[in-house]
């Protein structure tokens, strides 16, 4: 099936099978390897991308469902060499250990701060509860989101 998707601001055409997952189109079709395949059933959040600005799980969405819509991945977050404030904060706060969950966490955090620039710690933890960090580095991840929110306010 022919579909047209705007990925990280660029409009692209694809010919996909109906059973192609959005995650696999991004990773195998576009070599955007940021979003990760973790559990495949919506429990880990590693495949989080934005669909029309909303955080969603790309391992449970068919590529055809993205036809005519906008998909944003971690690769589109930086502006050239300039990292997004959330990416900066993850580095500064040591919120990255093995790094596997990081793109999912950052995309979820990005959606949170777009919706709510002043989240409390509780709101951050609630919003990010669908993302798993198997290194269990949650404290620094929450700190990083707090620090990114703080910087955005300054």
């Amino acid at each position: 099936m022919n579909i047209e998707v705007t990925v990280n601001g660029r409009r692209k055409r694809f010919d996909v099978e109906p059973n192609t997952l959005l995650l696999n189109l991004l990773r195998d079709g576009l070599y955007l390897k940021g979003a990760k395949y973790g559990c495949g059933i919506g429990e880990c959040g590693a495949c989080t991308v934005h669909l029309d600005g909303e955080a969603v799980l790309s391992c449970m969405i068919l590529a055809v469902e993205a036809d005519g819509r906008r998909v944003d991945t971690i690769e589109g977050l930086a502006d050239g060499d300039e990292l997004d404030p959330i990416q900066e904060a993850f580095i500064e706060e040591g919120a990255i250990q093995c790094g596997f969950c990081t793109p999912g966490f950052i995309m979820a955090a990005k959606a949170l701060l777009n919706e709510n620039p002043y989240p409390s710690e509780g709101e951050i933890r609630e919003y990010l509860k669908g993302n798993m960090c198997r290194c269990t580095g949650y404290v620094n991840i929450v700190k990083a989101v707090q620090s990114a929110a703080q910087k955005a306010r300054e």
């Binding site: 109906p18 395949y37 495949g40 449970m60 469902e65």
Partner: protein, 301 residues
């Protein structure tokens, strides 16, 4: 599920994908493909089920291109909620949170933000899980499901929507179109309480309560219990036991006890043994009853 038994990296079957643009087109496709088709709403249940080959549809009918299915509309006596309305939309809706807060609470209790950004209220119901959080809330609201097909529309009270054998009454050629949700009578307090393995897991037990007071006496009471029998249900015995009684801790505890005596969990259910559900349903019922009673008291002032 045991993710090591399946390759959840891919969708392991081939199907034809249809994206009807109107209701007429959608029911037409259902009439044509019925048994071989599955409706795709948010996909948060359907895609994992296909990955595990629990479902192997030859046709997938995606309803997201039909805008009229995804809206919340205020009516004189309540709200109409389209089946394709996302759980996140319900959770954030000012109308729902003001007029039907128990439904907002139930929607908010489901999964993660990522799940609720895709998952729909219709999908939550049509997946036919006894744990469906919105079903328990809709039961105390006495909601009515509007089911559509080429043969015409029919209205089904939410209490009759599940057949008690892991299915809904929606036939293969039918689809859930919308939910008609009446307002609770003025002064009614409500509450939704849930417990799962983690805060974003599906419910091990969930309870919804609506309760109205008339001077410190319970004028009306509705209690629904989920995940404790093959389908969520209203616990009429407990409701009757509480009606007309003075609102005391003992009366609420007695009703909660009756709730826990009416569960019918299955031994093979993985998430918890029956004994856990028996004990937990009493605790959660008491919590929901207390919460609803407190709100009813506040509203009475």
């Amino acid at each position: 599920m045991d993710i090591n038994r399946f390759n959840t990296h891919i969708v392991p079957i081939r199907f034809d994908y249809h994206a009807p643009k109107s209701l007429e087109e959608a029911v037409g496709l259902l009439a044509e493909y019925g048994e071989e088709a599955q409706i795709l709403a948010g996909g948060t249940d359907l895609i994992p089920k296909i990955k595990q080959r629990i479902l192997e549809p030859k046709h997938v009918i995606d309803l997201k291109a039909i805008p009229e299915l995804a809206c919340i509309e205020e009516t004189p006596d309540g709200a109409k909620i389209g089946a394709l309305t996302k759980l996140r939309t319900i959770e954030l809706s000012p109308l729902i949170n003001k007029k039907l807060p128990v439904l907002g609470e139930a929607a908010r209790a489901i999964g993660s933000v990522q799940i609720r950004n895709r998952g729909t209220i219709g999908g939550n119901l049509c997946n036919a899980s006894p744990c469906a959080d919105t079903a328990t809330a809709l039961m105390v609201l006495d909601a009515v499901a509007l089911v559509d097909s080429v043969e015409g529309k029919r209205e089904v009270p939410i209490g009759e929507f599940f057949d008690g054998r892991g299915q809904t009454i929606v036939a293969p050629n039918e689809m859930l179109k919308e939910l008609i949700v009446p307002l609770l009578p003025e002064g009614t307090g409500s509450a939704f309480v849930k417990v799962g393995w983690t805060t974003f897991d599906i419910a091990t037990v969930n309870v919804a309560v609506a309760l109205r007071l008339d001077d410190e006496k319970v004028a009306d009471c509705r209690i629904a219990l989920g995940a404790c029998s093959p389908a969520p249900f209203r616990v009429r015995r407990a409701e009757e036991a509480l009606k007309g009684k003075e609102l005391t801790g003992e009366a609420l505890e007695e009703a909660a006890q009756i709730v826990s005596e009416h569960i019918e969990p299955r031994e093979r259910w993985r998430r918890a043994p029956p004994e856990y559900r028996r004990k937990t349903s009493k605790v959660l019922a008491l919590e929901a009853l207390t919460g609803a009673a407190e709100e009813a008291r506040r509203l009475a002032k």
